[in-house]
Structures are given as structure tokens and as C-alpha cells.
Symmetry: C2
Subunit: 206 residues, 2 copies
Amino acid sequence: MQERLVEISSLVAVSIENATRAFNESDVTLAETVIADDVKIDTAAKELDELAINILARQQPVARDLRIVVSALRISASLERMGDMAEHIAQLARYRFPDKVVPKSLRGTFSELGALDVAIAKKLVDLLTNEDVRLAEEIRNDDDKIDALHLSVFDKVLGETWKGGAIDTVDATLASRYHERFADHAVSIAKKVQYLATGDWVAASA
Amino acid sequence: MQERLVEISSLVAVSIENATRAFNESDVTLAETVIADDVKIDTAAKELDELAINILARQQPVARDLRIVVSALRISASLERMGDMAEHIAQLARYRFPDKVVPKSLRGTFSELGALDVAIAKKLVDLLTNEDVRLAEEIRNDDDKIDALHLSVFDKVLGETWKGGAIDTVDATLASRYHERFADHAVSIAKKVQYLATGDWVAASA
């Protein structure tokens, strides 16, 4: 099951890297790749769920093993949603092509948001591979930075110097929310892995 | 477990009814009630998860029973997110108080969105109580109406007659998304109940 989670998280890491690049550089081909690849993530998550249910039925795990299987079901659901967020970011890039999604004054912020989401996704692959709980802490810190950037998007959009039209405001609002939700799901997964590693099995499966 | 799901869905139905009323009528006291009540929904969902894990450990269910327990875990997660969406809608009402969240031109649309979310939540309570699969179909139809209204919000915001400022645009975008996500989660639950009732156990636990 761990191998499968690592595989799915690797697919998610590739998708968010492609999605944020498509978003920042208006690369419509790359955006379409992300949209097409989301099916692979969905399928891989469903396969992992079936594996987990088979393990529950055949091996009837208890105690820590049971918590691990239930946590894996939850982690798979979060990874699937992270894939959806990458897809949503790519869809915004595709809708606005050949224009860029956000006006110049916000591009630096979205470039930082994208880089942090990509960093978080890569750390998540590592965390699921080797359960190094320091990575869970790093993911939480990166998420704090993302929350601050997310708020700064609203400060800019609602500030006096904002010259964007309604379409820019809508896109910036949605794009910022997708970037932020992507990181939220990563934090939720990181907490579960941390709890499992530290023996807090109840919290891990919550 | 079914009783618990019915209880949680009833809490969600009360919260979305209060949240949409708070949103449409700028009732800050009601908004604060919704925000405070979200903790109850979160706690009830966690308790159901613990019950499900205890059942898995002690009774080691297989086949249909196992699928029901796994589906219950997923339904509980969706109900918890529906509670979050009600809370987000209430938070928008609180932030903008004493103003209304959306300008006049959108109030009719949001009143319809809110009424549909409330209707869906009540049907979900009924569906979880008596597994009448016709309700699952109705929920899907209501969701189609919500998707159309959600798109119409963007049509208005991006149309030539839109006089709202950036803050109105941001609020309308987020509020519409929260209403739409609330219904999406309900559809996802309705599908699971329908699959369980019709014997498609694999789909039910996916």
C-alpha cells in the first residue's frame, strides 16, 4: 500500500509542476496534459482503495495495522483531491489562453504559490517514501507561507491599485483558493503520516 | 452507524439552513451560531469514524458489511466538508455585516442557490434514514440546477451590466463555489447510498 501511495503522490507532483508551469507561462499543451493525466490519478486512487478493502476483508487487520489501512484510504482521497486542484489550475490556464491568467501585478505572488505547491508535493513523495517526520514539519511551514500569500492575493485584489477587471478578480480568487487547498490536503496527509510514525494511531485514522 | 449518519446529516441540514439565511438576510448572530456549530459536526464525524474502526477491529466484517462500513467512513468525511461549506458561507455573512454579501443583482440567484442547498440537505437526511433511491435521483437533479445557477453567477459578474467592485466579485465567486461544493458532496453521498441499496458494493465504497 505504501508503494501505491508513493506512486500516486509522484503523479500528483508531476501534475502540479506541469499545472503551475502551464498557469505561469500560458502553456496550453501542458495544461491539456494535466487535464488528461487527472484520470490516471483517479484510477490509481481507486485501485489503492480496492486494495485496502481487500486487505480489510482477507487479512482482517487490527490495532496499528487497521489504522494504517484506514489512514491509507484517507490519504488516497486527499491525493485524489490534490490532483483535482492541479487540474483546476490547468483549466484556468487553458480557458485564458493565449492570455495569462493573472495580471502582471500578481504574477510574482502566483509564481511563489506555485513553487511552494510543487515543493510541498515533492516533500510529500519523500515523506510517504521514508516517513521522515521532519518533512511533515516542513510541509506545515510551507503551508503557512501559502496561507500568507493567499491572503496577500486578496489584499492586492481589494487594494486601491488593483486595475484588473472582473474576470481577473474571479480568476485570481479561484486560482489562489486552488493553490491553497492543494497545500491543505498535503498538510492533512503529512499529519496522518506523522501520527502513524509517532504511534498516535487514533489521530492518524481520523 | 446509520443512526449516526442521520444525526450528522441533520446537523448539516440545520447549519446550511442557518448559513443561507444568515447570508441572505445579513444575520450576524445566526452566522456565529453556524460557525460555533461546526465543531459539533466535526466531533460527531470523528465519533462515527471511531465507531467504524471499532466495528472493523471487533466484528471484522466482510463482503457487503465491509463495504457499508467503508462507505460510512467516506460519507462521514463528505458530511464534515458540507459542514465546512456552511461555515464558509456564514463567515462571508459575518465579514460583510452589516452589509449584505452580494449586490442586489445577484440576490435572487443566491436565494435560489441557498434554497436548493437546503432542499438537498433535507433530502439527504431522508435518504440516509430510509434509503429511498428516488431521493438520490432528486438530489442529482437539484445539483444540475445548482451548476446552472453557479455558471449564471459568473455570467453576471463577467457581464457588461456588472457594477460590483472587486470585493463583490471576490465574494460572489467564493460564495457561489461554496454553494456548489456543498451540493457536490451531497451528490457523492447520494451515489454511495444508491449503490449500496442496489447491490453495487464496489462503487459504493469507491
